[in-house]
């Protein structure tokens, strides 16, 4: 009943253009962020860090990136795993070549490198569209993974081609390597995610975001009213790859600490991120988060309930989890084809009118 927009008048355009025009939403989000920044670090342990929070944060960032490209600009990509590998290897080369470099800068530069690679692999998008483009981006996926596997320079000539994250510090606290405290890695990732979610929101509600959506909704009309298609698509590839690169760098440096390209950045990762944004909601910042949370946490949750709680054999549970996830994906698509974010939006709209149905 507090959830109302009536009485919440806007007297300026800037008031109307803010991210959460409804005061209640605004306060909930601020409270949530405050909780995440101030309270969670005191409660977190290794399990929550490595199995729940950091993975969700890292994958959210990747999903945000892909959502910019696919959800906002309409270019379906299956190269996410390859671009994450670029971010990871860039961060590896940067930290090992310049051990003194600040970790924030390392991660941002890794994103920058990935953005450049993304632009190169985005070039075919000018001519190729839809599923054809999706499958064509697999070329980048396979090629990049092959490259990192093949060229010894990328893994510093180690015997097996595995890369391991060296220990690095921010403000004197380890945020990579085995001795990093859970709260530190969590806060490090959280900072990136919150800042870049905000930036994504700003970009998508402004000029650039509108030009992306124009290309997505009707590329020819967009071009005719003055949206340059190549520049716009490439800007989407660049920004998207930047996000994915950062996510790949965090994935390797902070979350896993060791990686080899074929396993850590394989084709399944590309699909996984695509699932996240479709199930969460294409063209929705919030959807990227719930999509990532859904795909990462559901298996963990089911596993803990069925193995930990009910004591069923692990292999049966693993099979059942596959079936349940598959079933849930189909169920949610049937209930709301536009993703969980849309489901949430519709619920909110109903809530806004409650108790009057219309």
């Amino acid at each position: 009943m507090f959830y109302r927009e009536s009485g919440d008048f806007k007297t300026s355009y800037s008031g109307d253009q803010q991210i959460f025009p409804i005061a209640f939403d605004r306060w909930v989000v601020i409270a949530f962020c405050a909780f995440a920044f101030v309270v969670v670090p005191f409660l977190i342990n290794d399990y929550w860090e490595k199995s729940v929070l950091v993975p969700v944060l890292v994958w959210s960032l990747a999903a945000l990136g892909l959502n910019i490209l696919t959800g906002y600009c309409g270019q379906v990509s299956l190269g996410t795993g390859g671009f994450m590998a670029v971010g990871a290897y860039a961060s590896y080369k940067l930290t090992t070549s310049f051990p003194e470099m600040n970790m924030f800068i390392v991660i941002l530069l890794s994103g920058g490198v990935t953005a450049l690679v993304g632009i190169v692999f985005g070039l075919p998008s000018l001519r190729i569209k839809g599923f054809y483009l999706a499958v064509a981006t697999l070329a980048s996926q396979f090629f990049l993974v092959w490259l990192f596997n093949k060229v010894p320079w990328f893994y510093n000539y180690s015997a097996s081609g595995q890369i391991s994250a060296p220990e690095r510090f921010v403000f004197g606290i380890a945020i990579s390597g085995p001795n990093s405290p859970p709260w530190a890695t969590y806060l490090f990732c959280l900072t990136f995610v919150v800042v870049f979610a905000l930036i994504a929101k700003n970009l998508t509600r402004g000029r650039l975001g509108r030009s992306w959506m124009a290309i997505r909704d009707m590329d020819i009309a967009a071009e005719i009213i003055g949206v340059p298609p190549l520049k716009t698509k490439l800007s989407a590839f660049a920004v998207s790859s930047f996000y994915i690169g950062i996510s790949g760098a965090l994935f390797f440096m902070v979350y896993l600490g060791a990686a080899e390209p074929t396993e850590a950045f394989g084709i399944e990762k590309s699909f996984l991120v695509l699932f996240m944004i479709i199930i969460g909601g294409l063209g929705s910042i919030f959807g990227s988060f719930i999509g990532a949370a859904f795909m990462i946490l559901m298996p963990v949750l089911f596993k803990n309930i069925m193995v930990g709680g009910l004591g069923w054999p692990t292999d049966l549970v693993a099979h059942l989890i596959f079936m349940l996830i598959g079933g849930l994906i189909m169920f949610f698509l049937i209930v709301e084809p536009h993703g969980l974010a849309q489901l949430w939006r519709v619920t909110k709209e109903k809530l806004r009118l409650w108790p009057f149905p219309h």
Partner: protein, 432 residues
């Protein structure tokens, strides 16, 4: 609202179920995989690992009077799931981890060391972890990939009457960290023995190997080595049979040598060889006990059909080595209820004699194993096993022999030094 709160509470509870408090058992987590592309290999290993501990509990009442508890956790050979498994089980007092995947092993090397929990990557993982001075908590006894490569080359040399000059050896390998492991060793050995080495990478999953095998057919290498895993093994053996490559010149590593790999090719696989670090078949005393106490009482992890297969034996062997290390730890520290730190000491002091193996019903199952502070790789012995398609059995055709220690040890020293430098580790002083 009430419902959502309840649900949230349930979720939170379910999430934390992983982190229970330790109990008075000896906890052995089993990061196994019974699903995914490598499930056919993961299942027998996991069954063997679990059944042996069940046997100890049923027959002896555990290890030193304390029951062993196996904590299975499904990884699907996926690194992130492996991390989740590690984090969710380590709080339960896990004594030692068998990561069963190269990716998970590399992930756990720094992490488990920091947590003070030993890792036993038995015949896989990072080879240079054999250097105990640098890798204090990582063990890969009884043998490493580099040992395996060297032993295979030695076997080939035996076959060729000691001279490998101008022979050609091809390596067909899984294009991943695992598959690339033996390359350095084989290159070093090539310098020493003067053979030519051809490298043939096969990408995951490896269902299409036509190019590689056409090349082998064209170039007719004298021997073909294989570092494969999963479906790649079956296809490679099938293709080798198709091009009528002499099977007794085709030698795999121990992960390319299970019944799963040779059976689909049928009779054509006859004569295929592989290096092994433990015995084959079910002709050991321990199997009578397993039948009696585990399978017939319905307590077996699988359906019992895997008993005596290569990977079941390996799982069982891993469990035996773990339980013997636990026993050693109990003796050293004079307590039955050991901690991971004590377990580590036990692993480092492990000395498995022939007499003890006979006592366990595993006479001649494998070489004697002794581990010390500097050497976490064990004896590094291996034998060659060969497939008899008509009988459907593997048999050892050589004695357990050692690797070319000069070459392998130098490589281990070099690689572990690089790791130590990269991670600011000062090698321990092992008093030698």
């Amino acid at each position: 609202m009430k419902h959502t709160k309840l649900a949230a509470a349930a979720v939170a509870m379910a999430m934390t179920l992983g982190a229970n408090t330790a109990s008075a058992d000896l906890v052995f987590p089993s990061l196994d995989y019974r699903t995914g592309p490598y499930a056919p290999n993961g299942i027998p290993f996991a069954d063997g690992y679990s059944d042996y501990f069940t046997l100890l509990n049923e027959r002896d009442g555990g290890i030193g009077g304390v029951p062993a508890r196996v904590l299975p956790c499904e990884t699907g050979y996926n690194t992130e799931k492996g991390v989740e498994c590690y984090e969710s089980t380590k709080g339960e007092g896990a004594l030692v981890y068998q990561p069963l995947s190269t990716g998970i092993t590399y992930q756990l090397i720094p992490k488990a060391t920091a947590d003070g929990i030993p890792v036993h990557s038995m015949g896989y993982g990072r080879t240079s972890a054999a250097n105990g001075k640098v890798f204090s908590h990582i063990f890969n006894y009884p043998g490493t990939y580099w040992d395996a490569a060297s032993i295979i080359v030695k076997h080939i040399a035996d076959q060729e009457g000691g001279d490998l000059k101008d022979k050609t050896i091809a390596l067909v390998y899984h294009n991943s960290a695992y598959g690339k492991e033996p390359i350095r060793t084989l290159e070093e050995l090539a310098k020493k023995h003067g053979y030519n080495l051809t490298l043939l990478a096969v990408d995951h999953p490896g269902q299409e190997q036509k190019s590689q095998w056409l090349q082998i057919r064209r170039e007719r290498p004298d021997y073909v080595l294989m570092w494969g895993w999963g479906v790649m093994n079956q296809v490679a053996i099938q293709e080798a049979a198709n091009i009528r490559y002499p099977m007794d010149h085709f030698i795999g590593v121990w992960w390319s040598a299970s019944e799963n790999d040779v059976l689909p090719a049928g009779d054509a696989a006859n004569g295929y060889k592989a290096v092994a670090f433990h015995g084959v078949g079910s002709g050991f005393g321990v199997y009578d006990d397993l039948k009696k106490h585990v399978v017939d009482t319905g307590k077996a992890a699988g359906d019992g059909s895997n008993l005596g297969t290569v990977l079941y034996n390996r799982g069982m062997y891993a469990a035996m080595l773990a339980s013997e290390a636990a026993r050693t730890a109990q003796e050293i520290h004079g307590t039955a209820d050991i901690t991971p730190a004590m377990m580590r000491d036990g692993m480092e002091a492990l000395n498995l004699t022939e007499a003890r193996m006979a006592e366990l019903g595993l006479a001649n199952f494998g070489p004697e194993v002794s581990v010390d502070c500097a050497n976490h790789g064990g004896p590094g012995l291996g034998a060659i096993q060969q497939w008899d398609a008509a009988a459907g059995t593997w048999s050892l055709i050589t004695e357990f022999t050692g690797a070319d220690r000069d070459v392998v040890d130098a490589l281990i020293a070099e690689d572990s030094a690089a790791f130590a430098a990269e991670n600011n580790i000062t090698p321990r002083d092992c008093g030698a």
